[in-house]
C-alpha cells in the first residue's frame, strides 16, 4: 500500500524586497541605521530622490549622502484593500501615504497608528523605521 502523500502547506508568500543599486545603497544603509539619508549634488547642493548618477540641474556626477530631517506633510494617500501581492493579504486594508518631506523630496510609505477618517492632506507625520531582516529596514509613517 502506498503512503498517502501529506498535503504540503501552501508556501509562505515572500515579501518583495528592495535590490539596492550602486546609487541607492547609501539610502538603504541609512534606513538600517535609523537615519534618513538623501543624495545631494556636490556641485550645486540640490537634493535628489530616488538616487541616480547625474544631477538633473547642473549635470555633476559628484554627490554625497547627508542625513535629513524626518518630518513631513501628507501630500495624498490611498488605502490598499486588494493585495496585489499575497504577502500583503493579512495587512490589508493598509494606508500608504505619499509625504512631502521637510527635506524637499517625497517618500511613499505605510501610515500606521492613524485611522483613515482622521487623515487629511496637509497632515503632519514623521518617518519611522521597521527592520525586516539583518540587511533591510523599510520606512513607515506615524502621526507627528
Amino acid at each position: 500500500m502506498s503512503a498517502t502523500p501529506i498535503p504540503a502547506a501552501p508556501p509562505v508568500p515572500e515579501r518583495p524586497m528592495p535590490a539596492p543599486t550602486r546609487e541607492s545603497k547609501p539610502y538603504w544603509d541609512g534606513l538600517r541605521e535609523g537615519r534618513f539619508m538623501l543624495q545631494h549634488c556636490a556641485a550645486c547642493g540640490k537634493v535628489r530622490h530616488y538616487p541616480r548618477p547625474v544631477c538633473p540641474h547642473c549635470f555633476s556626477m559628484e554627490s554625497s549622502f547627508k542625513e535629513a530631517p524626518q518630518g513631513g506633510t501628507v501630500h495624498t494617500w490611498t488605502v490598499c484593500h486588494h493585495p496585489f501581492n499575497f504577502f500583503f493579504k493579512q495587512q490589508a486594508p493598509y494606508i500608504v501615504a505619499l509625504v512631502d518631506m521637510d527635506a524637499g523630496v517625497r517618500v511613499n510609505a505605510p501610515l500606521r497608528g492613524m485611522a483613515e477618517k482622521d487623515l487629511k492632506i496637509g497632515q503632519r507625520v514623521k518617518l519611522a523605521f521597521e527592520p525586516v531582516d539583518a540587511d533591510v529596514t523599510l520606512p513607515f509613517f506615524t502621526a507627528a
Binding site: P18, Y50, H81, H82, N85, V96, A109, E116
Partner: protein, 386 residues
C-alpha cells in the same frame, strides 16, 4: 505651413481577435492572428509588411514575425516601452517610417494573455520602466497601477471636488457602449449603484473603476497615404500624432504635480501638427485604464478646464448621441485590454463608417490617446479623407 507629417500616413488595415477571459492560445498566437486579420483588411499580403512595432514586453518580437509570416525584407523593428502610451506613440514612429520611404507598410500589434497569463502585479515588475517602483514602492506595498494612480485621483478629488459619482458615470457609459459591440468581455448592463457597491481595490478606486485583465490580440497597419488610397478600405489619415513624457517619468511619487501626464506635451504638439483643436472632434477614444484617467485626460485635451472634468462627463455628454462620444467600443473598462490598440481600431472604424450600432453619425475626425507606465502620454488625430 502645414507640418511635414500631417496626413502623409494612413491607417490602412485593422484586425482583432475575440476578446475573452480565458484562452488556450499564446500571446504570440493572438498577436499573429490579429496581424493576419489586419493585413487581410488592408488587402495586403504578409509579404508586404516591411516594418514591425510589437508591443513589448509580452507577445512576440520582430524575429517571430519574420519566422511566422515569412517577411522577405524587414526594414524596421522597434520597441516603444511606454506601457499604455505605446500603441498611439507607435503610430508616430510608423508614420515617420512610411512618410520617409524607409518602410511601405508598418505593422503595430499586441498579443496579451492578461487573464490567462501573468497578471498585472507580476507583469509590471519585469518592465525596466518600473525599476524604481520595484525598488522603492513594491516593498512597502505599492505594486499595481491601481495603487500608484489612486494617490493622484485622491488629489484631484481633494482639489476639485471630483466624486465617485463622476467615476461611475465613466464606467457606466463605457459599459453601455460595449453592449452595442459584438466583441467584448463585459456585455451585461452596469448601473451607478453596481459601481458604488463593487469592492474597493485601492481607495478611491473600486473594482468597476479598473480596466479588465483579459486575453486578446489587436493589430493595425500604417502605410503612406498615397499608397493606402489604392488599397481596399476608405482612407483614414493621421493628421497629427505625438508622444510626451512627464517630469520624473519612472516615479509618480517624485513628480512635482501628480496630475501632470505626458499627454500635456503630446496634446500640444499633436494638435499643432493636425492644425485643429478639441472642438473639431466628432468622437474620442481615450485610454481608460481607470475611470479617473479618462476624467483627467479630458482636461489635458482641452475639452474642459482643469477641475471641471467631473461635471463634464455627466448628463450623457460622453455617451453616444452626446456632445463628445467617448470609447464607443467600451474601452479597456468593458471591451478588453489590448493596451489601447483597440481604441485606434475603433476610431478607424468610426471614420470609415464601420462602427455598427455604435456608429457616431457623420464622424469625420476624432482623436485617440494613450496613457501608460507612470504617466507617459500619446495622442493621434485621425480623419476620413474627403
Amino acid at each position: 505651413m502645414a507640418h511635414a507629417l500631417r496626413d502623409t500616413a494612413a491607417i490602412s488595415g485593422i484586425g482583432e481577435t475575440a476578446y475573452t477571459r480565458g484562452t488556450q492560445k499564446s500571446g504570440l498566437a493572438l498577436q499573429l492572428e490579429a496581424s493576419l486579420a489586419a493585413i487581410a483588411d488592408a488587402g495586403l499580403s504578409p509579404r508586404d509588411i516591411d516594418g514591425i512595432i510589437p508591443y513589448f514586453p509580452g507577445g512576440g518580437i520582430a524575429e517571430d514575425f519574420v519566422a511566422n509570416l515569412g517577411l522577405p525584407d524587414l526594414a524596421l523593428s522597434a520597441f516603444i516601452p511606454m506601457g499604455g502610451a505605446t500603441c498611439v506613440a507607435a503610430l508616430q514612429t510608423a508614420a515617420m517610417a512610411v512618410a520617409t520611404g524607409v518602410c511601405k507598410n508598418v505593422l503595430i500589434s499586441v498579443g496579451r494573455t492578461g487573464y490567462s497569463g501573468a497578471r498585472v502585479s507580476t507583469r509590471l515588475q519585469q518592465f525596466p520602466q518600473f525599476a524604481l517602483a520595484a525598488e522603492f514602492e513594491a516593498p512597502i506595498g505599492m505594486f499595481a497601477p491601481a495603487q500608484l494612480y489612486a494617490q493622484g485621483a485622491r488629489r484631484h478629488m481633494d482639489l476639485y471636488g471630483t466624486t465617485p459619482r463622476h467615476f461611475a458615470e465613466v464606467a457606466v457609459t463605457m459599459r453601455n457602449h460595449a453592449i452595442l459591440n459584438g466583441n467584448v468581455v463585459m456585455n451585461k448592463p452596469l448601473t451607478v449603484e453596481d459601481h458604488h457597491a463593487s469592492r474597493m481595490i485601492s481607495d478611491p478606486f473600486r473594482l468597476f473603476d479598473c480596466s479588465l485583465e483579459s486575453d486578446g490580440g489587436a493589430a493595425v497597419i500604417v502605410s503612406a497615404s498615397a499608397r493606402a488610397k489604392s488599397l481596399k478600405k476608405p482612407l483614414v489619415t493621421i493628421m497629427g500624432v505625438a508622444e510626451g513624457h512627464p517630469e520624473s517619468p519612472a516615479s509618480i511619487a517624485q513628480r512635482p504635480d501628480l496630475l501632470e501626464f505626458g499627454l500635456v506635451k503630446a496634446a500640444k504638439r499633436g494638435y499643432e501638427m493636425a492644425g485643429v483643436g478639441p472642438k473639431d472632434m466628432d468622437v474620442a477614444e481615450i485610454y481608460d485604464c481607470f475611470t479617473f484617467t479618462v476624467i483627467r485626460q479630458l482636461e489635458i485635451l482641452g475639452f474642459c478646464k482643469t477641475g471641471e472634468s467631473g461635471p463634464f462627463v455627466m448628463d450623457g455628454r460622453i455617451g453616444l448621441g452626446g456632445e463628445l462620444p467617448i470609447n464607443t467600443h467600451g474601452g479597456l473598462l468593458s471591451q478588453g485590454h489590448v493596451v489601447g490598440l483597440n481604441h485606434v481600431i475603433e476610431l478607424t472604424r468610426q471614420l470609415r463608417g464601420e462602427a455598427g450600432k455604435a456608429q457616431v453619425k457623420d464622424a469625420e475626425m476624432g482623436l485617440v490617446t494613450g496613457y501608460g507606465d507612470m504617466g507617459d502620454g500619446s495622442l493621434a488625430i485621425l480623419r476620413r479623407a474627403a
